[in-house]
């Protein structure tokens, strides 16, 4: 069950650029979280912005009772977290949301990450490895500095394909370029998983559709509460059973959705 706790920061690693890895103590998240789930969190050091922010859980350590976030500082909420000192606490509710579901036996998991969207795939890779499922991680950014987790993923032995829009690292072009190359011409048994900017998710959904593959996408709407009550995070979803598209809260019915059900705007 998700728990609402004052979570102390227990470790902090600044990465180049606006990025950082933050590790918090939070027994419930450490024990129960699955890849694709997230926390709503806010540094107690900064009164504003006063709402918590959603961040994907990147890793957990159930033994130590901690979990780790991979953050990009983009505004006051994320920056206040990055500026925390070890020992300071954050209000933290989690784990929240629906996780990624492992592929059916025989199918390979292809994880497609754009920017900070790589965070949940670190954990998903660990889960898949534990279940001895084959997977491959496609990690794309605009330029080389936008791939701050590269080293950690290589050290972790993740099967990795890098790409950058400007070609400064890995395959030049969008992350769908190495993905399509990998999928090749013939029908490969795979499930696609995508987390990143909207346009990227949509592109992956199109790749999946064109090839008749299943795809799970993690959407990234603005969230107010994380628990299904503010109805600020709704996304347009039409499930096979729905007569017409419905606004559904991404925090409780997602953030991971079947790509076929998403009504792209």
């Amino acid at each position: 069950m998700p728990a609402n706790l004052d979570a102390p920061l227990v470790a902090r690693e600044a990465l180049p650029g606006p990025y950082a890895l933050l590790t918090f103590a939070h027994a419930a998240v450490a024990r129960e979280a699955r890849a694709g789930q997230f926390v709503m969190i806010k540094a107690h050091t900064a009164p504003e912005p006063f709402l918590r922010r959603p961040f994907s859980i990147m890793a957990v350590d159930p033994g130590r009772g901690t979990f780790t976030l991979f953050l990009k500082g983009v505004g006051p909420g994320s920056r206040a977290l990055i500026d925390m000192r070890v020992g300071e606490t954050a209000g933290c509710l989690g784990p929240l949301g629906k996780p990624f579901e492992a592929p059916p036996p025989g199918a390979e998991a292809l994880l497609v990450a754009g920017g900070y969207g790589v965070a949940p795939f670190y954990m998903f890779g660990e889960e898949l490895r534990a279940q001895r499922r084959p997977f491959h991680l496609f990690y794309g950014g605009r330029t080389a500095p936008d791939l701050p987790l590269e080293e950690i993923l290589i050290e972790g032995g993740y099967p990795l394909a890098l790409s950058t829009d400007d070609g400064s690292r890995g395959t030049p072009g969008r992350v769908t370029v190495p993905l399509e190359a990998y999928l090749g011409a013939e029908g490969r048994q795979a499930v696609l998983y995508a987390c990143g900017p909207d346009a990227m998710l949509h592109a992956v959904a199109r790749v999946a559709q064109a090839r008749g593959l299943a795809a799970q996408v993690s959407l990234d709407p603005w969230m107010g509460c994380g628990v299904g009550t503010c109805l600020g995070c709704v996304v347009k979803i039409q499930r096979p059973s729905d007569a017409r598209p419905k606004w559904r809260p991404a925090c409780t019915e997602g953030p991971v959705f079947d790509a076929r059900d998403v009504v792209w705007s």
Binding site: M1, P2, E48, P221, G224, C230, L231
Partner: protein, 309 residues
């Protein structure tokens, strides 16, 4: 111990003066797994119409300095699904259940209330005549004394339960509206809903909310809400429920001191679901510190300059 926080409100006994405000706590059941719902004095449901509603397009919410601007547009399951699916699940929780009733017409308000009349678990009806995010009903009714009277009287006629109109702050004279409600048979008034506001995306040169305008809530509006609750409490003899920007025990105390019998906590639910425990603990320690027996001893104790109590 916790009997010290109990309050009487329009015939209801609440175990503490904290209710979850409409639209900020879902139908209550969403929080079942997160907290013990019986720590709440009561739960006010999300606004309910006769039929399910889709609500507004997105974006629906934007943060402002110490505030939140929303235009959800009362997305919801409709009163029948609420009675069928939600109310039974609330049976097991020891907390008051207040249903926030909406309508496009006076008749719809009455009809929704009538449907609730047969549901056993409902303790009171809150009449939403103050939602700024719908084209019909809502604020249009709550900004017009005549319509306010009509809606309240219509709902009053079809229920035996306490009827609590929720006032709009987008009026010049909140005391007038409180009095109109009292005259129309209200058992209490909730004070206040959100203030009409707009935030502009200057890069796109359009409102940030898809709906255009929205309702402002949160700590930003608290000084305005406290003033209005104070004016309403002086104007009527039915109880006033204070609402607006309550984040901690001190904030709740401001409303109680100016004369509110209970308060509702709205936006703070999004920030911290642990808010009720924190506030209740803070209220008890306040009572201890000030040597007061019960929370009722705080209500309406404001020493206003130049006035003697």
């Amino acid at each position: 111990m916790s009997g010290r926080l109990a309050v009487e409100l329009a015939g209801l006994r609440l175990k503490n003066p904290l209710l979850a405000a409409s639209g900020t706590f879902g139908y209550g059941v969403e929080y079942e797994r997160l907290m013990d719902l019986s720590t709440l004095g009561g739960i006010v449901s999300k606004g309910l119409y006769l039929e399910p509603r889709d609500g507004c397009d997105v974006p629906r919410i934007v943060e402002t300095p110490s505030g939140l601007l929303n235009a959800i547009g009362l997305q919801g399951v409709g009163v029948r699904a609420y009675v069928r699916d939600v109310l039974p699940r609330l049976e097991r929780h020891d907390t008051a259940v207040v249903v926030n009733v909406c309508g496009d017409t006076v008749e719809e308000y009455a009809e929704v209330t009538r449907i609730l009349e047969d549901a056993p678990r409902v303790d009171a009806i809150e009449i939403n005549i103050s939602c700024p995010n719908v084209k019909k009903g809502g604020m249009a009714f709550g900004g017009d004394p005549k319509m306010t009277h009509e809606v309240v009287a219509a709902v009053r006629r079809v229920t035996r339960r306490p009827v609590v109109p929720k006032l709009s702050p987008n009026v010049a004279d909140i005391a007038l509206f409180a009095r109109v409600c009292e005259e129309a048979g209200a058992s209490a008034v909730s004070c206040v809903n959100t203030l009409l506001g707009m935030v502009v995306d200057v890069e796109q040169r359009r409102p940030r909310l898809a709906f255009g305008t929205g309702g402002l809530s949160g700590p930003a509006i608290r000084p305005i809400a406290v003033r209005m609750a104070w004016q309403a409490a002086r104007a009527v003899s039915v109880p006033v429920i204070g609402i607006g920007g309550i984040m901690c025990a001190e904030d709740a105390l401001e409303f109680l001191i100016v004369g509110c019998r209970a308060v509702q906590v709205g936006t703070a639910n999004f920030v911290d679901p642990g808010v009720y425990e924190r506030i209740n603990a803070g209220l008890l320690s306040y009572l201890d510190r000030h040597g007061l027996a019960g929370i009722g001893d705080v209500v309406g104790t404001l020493a206003y300059p130049g006035e003697t109590k």
